[in-house]
Symmetry: C2
Subunit: 346 residues, 2 copies
């Protein structure tokens, strides 16, 4: 124990080098290098002496040096929007599983929906010489990545497309899923349907709004602009948007929530609301089937999004050099009760 404590106190003490190992093992530097890099030409006895010296000194190979020599690092980067959004958990894990199956380390971090932070994080990962990147973009201009891609960093975008560069992308069918959700509410008799979505500059928010409008128009229904609210998914913002739509002489009788962050707040608002209001949420979420009423959702397959993106990335790393691909993962409407509530008399 005290060894470690002492170790802690010489935090910036120098690491043992191959020279130290060679000296202790009584062999040449080249011999140590052969053992460390698993090259032939070392007798079993010598290899044992070197291994003993390595163990005794706690020598570790410095990958920074190896990266400089060899180029490939067997690591990929994943840039998420928010590490704490449950939607990204299964996506994150799926990417890691694929990386692991290819013997690669996953390095990740989040942009917190800040384009500058995305660029900073992406370039920091590039500077670490990751072999490839899976990016859930916050920015809408990725020309800053072109030199990295040209220099050999494979890049796949997921959940949202790249901006102003051409790269592989894997998306959910946000437009189609939103159409399904709103058509479902219309089929249950609703005419005044509110949409609360994420910030309009976010591709998925924009696509889901487009799906909402398209479904309303297809049913010959007007869209009162007071029924549409896009913005941050912070609970306060969503709560006030929902409260406004539910007030007045002509309140909405149904809500379409643009993602799981919006839905969970909408569920809270509706739980306190005097009249029953229908709700369909984009994204499934844990326990959605156990709240009362159970929540009808348009489910995305987050794990499949991540798995597909990672597979595309390793396909590039394995040498595929055809034109960038755009893949779309279908969504699925799951009726559970909240989306089948008829319009209340206002």
């Amino acid at each position: 124990m005290s060894d470690t404590a002492r170790g802690t106190s010489r935090r910036y003490g120098t690491r043992p080098t191959m020279k130290d190992v060679a000296a202790r093992a009584g062999v040449g530097l080249k011999t140590v290098s052969r053992v460390v890099n698993g090259e032939p030409g070392v007798t079993p006895d010598t290899e044992r002496r070197v291994q003993e010296a390595i163990t005794a000194l706690g020598f570790r190979r410095n990958d920074s040096a190896r990266i400089l020599r060899k180029g490939r690092t067997a690591s990929i980067g994943l840039v998420l929007e928010d590490l704490a959004d449950p939607f990204y958990g299964p996506l994150n894990r799926a990417v890691e599983e694929v990386a692991r199956s290819h013997g690669a380390l996953l390095i990740n971090g989040s942009s917190a929906e800040d384009p500058a932070r995305e660029q900073e994080l992406v370039l920091a990962l590039c500077a670490r010489r990751v072999d490839g990147l899976v990016i859930i973009p916050a920015a809408d201009d990725h020309r800053y990545l072109a030199p990295e891609i040209a220099a050999g960093i494979a890049t796949v975008f997921v959940d949202r497309p790249a901006g102003r560069i051409d790269a592989d992308v894997v998306l959910s069918d946000s437009f189609g899923g939103a159409q399904d959700a709103v058509a479902h509410l219309i089929a249950h008799g609703h005419r005044r349907i509110g949409f609360i979505g994420d910030q309009p500059r976010i591709h998925t928010a924009h696509e889901r709004l487009r799906g909402y409008r398209t479904a309303m128009v297809a049913a010959g229904l007007p869209v009162d602009e007071s029924w549409v609210s896009l913005g941050p998914t912070a609970p306060e913002r969503v709560r006030s948007a929902a409260t406004t739509m539910l007030a007045g002489p002509q309140p909405v009788t149904a809500l379409f929530a643009g993602n799981n962050r919006v839905t969970v707040t909408a569920v809270r608002v509706l739980a306190d609301h005097p009249r029953p209001v229908a709700l369909v949420g984009f994204d499934d979420f844990e326990l959605a089937d156990l709240v009362n009423p159970a929540i009808t959702v348009v489910a995305q397959d987050a794990a499949r999004l991540g798995r597909t993106a990672a597979q595309l990335l390793f396909r590039r790393l394995d040498g595929a050099d055809d034109a960038p691909r755009r893949m779309e993962i279908p969504t699925r409407l799951i009726p559970r009760g909240s989306g089948e509530i008829p319009p209340a008399e206002s």
Copy 2:
């Protein structure tokens, strides 16, 4: 677009070097190095020419080289147990926020509760020369880390303690929280209380079981071994454990769930159960207050765990070399209904 596509196709094309920049700018290598590293002694005009060459060639400094020269990398590693467990989301984000406030990049990955995978990931991060590590351990022997710590990698354990080495650790009060949960059920009249927890080798599972037993003993209640089930938190395992405890002539009248993974499955089992059964879960979770009945929990402050661990880490990186610290974060019982259900007549 096609530029990028071509870029993609020469994926392993060589990157521009400082030499290329020097040639294009018509200056010496040392001048380029001065500009890249922000050193003085370059005229504004020369600096502009170098910057233009850097932009034109898409040159990026290679941090692997800088790391070899300077030692510090301004990056820390976080090793989680499961990237998809919602408990770790706020912890992950809190560590990232502290790292960011110190200008450090967060690199993370998950052990999937596999000790070998933890060691592989930790050593891979050490080989990348992270300055420090925050570890939620899956292993119970961390002597493999002693050489890294001695070599200068600051290390803080969170959620679970280190095994067989001495290091900073930040824990929730699992023992006290579990006692509170079980005492709460006893106070509501329960005598036959089941405990379903995570794998016994996991510190928190062990501590929560100890809290359960201590509370039962303190109330003079026997513990039938058929009321205790530890193991993986996979839904099937938890479902069968709960079903067994709820069956037979002397079923449990209350369940204490050892973590949020167990609780969500227990909620599903009890939703289908004919008799009302009380439930208290360790860990709060989203919508716990909106399921019916609302779930009484022992809440941990995951964000505070992560924040405290990261602050301890940077305290070490700032040179603190006192003995390793052990900090305990209190838990909080939140009564919501499921934990206040009286015993049903069996």
